[in-house]
């Protein structure tokens, strides 16, 4: 957890998918995290856990180049985060798209392919259509790709989000609570699509979540952020009563039931507050 000034120069030259060295993020005198060293290898699946306001989403924003570090260095896919790194795929939270939105599933995926480029892109339309068809088939979305996205279920919309993120063959996949508000079957479907991708193409996955259980079998390591403190390690190392008690600074008990992990805190807001499973509309 110490900052090594000498490490700053080597940060960008590693083959790691994501490298953070002595990273600090603060707003005024409020420190979200400090001294964060993290190397994510290609093909590694990292879950980012922690209560609301612990800086999970801010970490994604840093990697996307939307937020500057207060101190330290960061590189993603070998380069410093700039706006529009095409080696990064991004999957947002499932949010209901408006039913009248004039957009089909294949358009959503197509925008992921080249929506950030200037010009009309008429010359590339064949290549785009072929790639979009391919990735729609990969996620099993071909059947509803021509329907209005706003009329699709949350699970169907999230499949399209996975396709949208994968259409550029990313080396790093950043997921911001992609399972939120999905039912259990769709949680399993979407997370297994993400897992299949990283195994097939060695894509590193950084998966921000409130809930570890749906992805527990897939996770290699956990980054657990609490109130400026953090811990990195395998689920066996991090998800223990001793580790989380130290992180939260109060007694927290971790219980394993039938392969699932439950965190029981002294106050309900200490443990993983779980506004999930609203079911689909």
């Amino acid at each position: 957890m110490t900052i090594d000034p000498g490490s700053r120069t080597v940060a960008a030259s590693t083959s790691d998918a994501v490298t953070l060295r002595g990273a600090r993020l603060s707003y005024g005198d409020r420190v979200l995290w400090d001294g964060l060293d993290l190397d994510i290898r290609p093909g590694e699946f990292i879950a980012v856990l922690g209560p609301n306001g612990s800086g999970k989403t801010s970490l994604l924003r840093v990697l996307l180049g939307l937020q500057q570090l207060s101190a330290g260095t960061v590189s993603v896919a070998g380069v410093a985060p700039g706006k529009g790194n095409s080696h990064i795929g991004y999957i947002p939270q499932q949010r209901a798209l408006e039913p009248t939105l004039a957009l089909r599933g294949r358009d959503l995926v197509g925008l992921g392919f080249d929506g950030h480029r200037w010009g009309l892109g008429i010359a590339d339309r064949r290549a785009r259509a072929a790639r979009v068809d391919e990735v729609l088939a990969d996620v099993g979305a071909t059947g509803f790709a021509d329907r209005s996205v706003g009329l699709l279920s949350g699970g169907e919309q999230q499949r399209l989000r996975v396709a949208q993120a994968l259409v550029n063959d990313p080396r790093v996949l950043l997921c911001d609570e992609p399972l939120l508000s999905l039912d259990l079957a769709n949680q399993a479907a979407v997370s297994s699509l993400i897992d299949a991708r990283r195994r097939a193409a060695n894509t590193a996955v950084l998966f921000v979540t409130h809930e570890i259980n749906p992805i527990l079998p897939l996770v290699d390591r956990i980054l657990y952020l609490v109130d400026g403190r953090f811990r990195v390690g395998t689920p066996e190392e991090v998800m223990t009563s001793a580790t989380l008690t130290a992180l939260y600074g109060t007694t927290v008990e971790v219980v394993r039931v039938r392969g699932q992990i439950h965190v029981i805190g002294a106050h309900s807001d200490l443990c993983e507050d779980a506004p999930h499973h609203h079911g689909e509309h």
Binding site: G84, L101, L103, D107, L111, G115, W118, G119, L120, L174
Partner: protein
């Protein structure tokens, strides 16, 4: 009622120069409105367009009072409005109320200026509800110039603008400069609105800028087909509205709004019957 369907009268008027000029202007405006409309609808900017057109009225009224060119005044007013509204974030919860505050004040100032104006009353009325006289080929050259300029910018920014309009969060993550695009698009809408004010009047610009696109969104989800249909609907409304207004000599906007409303109703019925058959 007989006057509306006096085809001999309509036919004779269709040979008059200023009528031809008005129809050409309407065709150009229909193209512009049809292309911008779907983006306006998907960006939830309908109320912002209304606010912009009210401030085009203020600019036009100021120009009328000061003896300047009305079109130039309308353009200035709506570009100022577009910049103010473009700087506001769509995410702000007070977005709509700020538009309401700005547009009502601007309209009030416009009303005061129209009251102070002692010239021909038809000039005042024309600002509110549109008129076809006063279009000459010089003003059409200006119109075409503006529209070509808007389309040239659009050809460069269309893809990221569409991305930012329908999927802002992922667009931002992909490095699309959503704030800058919002500002550029607001100025484009301001230009289009100011150009439409002369023909259709500031009160009813929405009939050309929004209704055709909203109708098209009812019947297809493909962005390309929505745009093509919106252009078609806007052309039918704008040109049809002018032709129907000729014989009775009534304000153009009454007919433009009626035609675009009927198109919307038909599209709504189509989408409804489709949903019922699917269910």
């Amino acid at each position: 009622m007989d006057k509306i369907f006096d085809f001999a009268q309509t036919g004779a008027l269709l040979k008059v120069d200023f009528v031809i000029a008005a129809i050409v202007a309407a065709a150009v405006l229909g193209l512009l409105a049809g292309v911008l409309g779907p983006l306006i609808v998907s960006r939830n900017m309908v109320f912002a367009v209304h606010g912009t057109s009210e401030l085009a009225l203020t600019g036009g009224a100021a120009a009328l009072l000061l003896g300047w060119d009305i079109g130039g005044g309308a353009l200035a007013g709506s570009i100022v409005a577009a910049l103010v509204l473009g700087l506001l974030s769509r995410k702000n919860s007070d977005y709509d109320s700020v538009i309401g505050v700005v547009l009502s004040f601007g309209l009030g100032v416009g009303v005061l200026m129209l009251w102070l104006y002692r010239g021909r009353a038809s000039n005042k009325f024309g600002l509110l509800t549109g008129q076809i006289v006063g279009q000459d080929f010089a003003s059409i050259a200006l119109l075409v110039g503006c529209v070509v300029g808007v389309f040239a910018v659009l050809a460069v920014i269309y893809r990221p603008l569409l991305f930012a309009s329908v999927d802002p969060e992922v667009a931002r993550a992909r490095g699309v400069p959503t704030k800058a695009l919002a500002l550029v698009f607001a100025v484009m809408v301001g230009v289009a609105t100011a150009l439409s004010v002369r023909t259709i009047g500031s009160l009813l610009v929405l009939a050309l800028m929004v209704t055709p696109a909203a109708a098209a969104c009812r019947v297809t989800a493909s962005p390309l087909r929505v745009t093509l249909l919106a252009v078609l609907f806007a052309e039918v409304s704008a040109i049809g509205g002018i032709i129907l207004s000729l014989a009775p000599g009534a304000p153009v906007s009454a007919f433009v709004t009626t035609i675009s409303f009927l198109i919307y109703v038909v599209c709504w019925l189509i989408s409804r019957s489709r949903r019922l058959t699917r269910a």
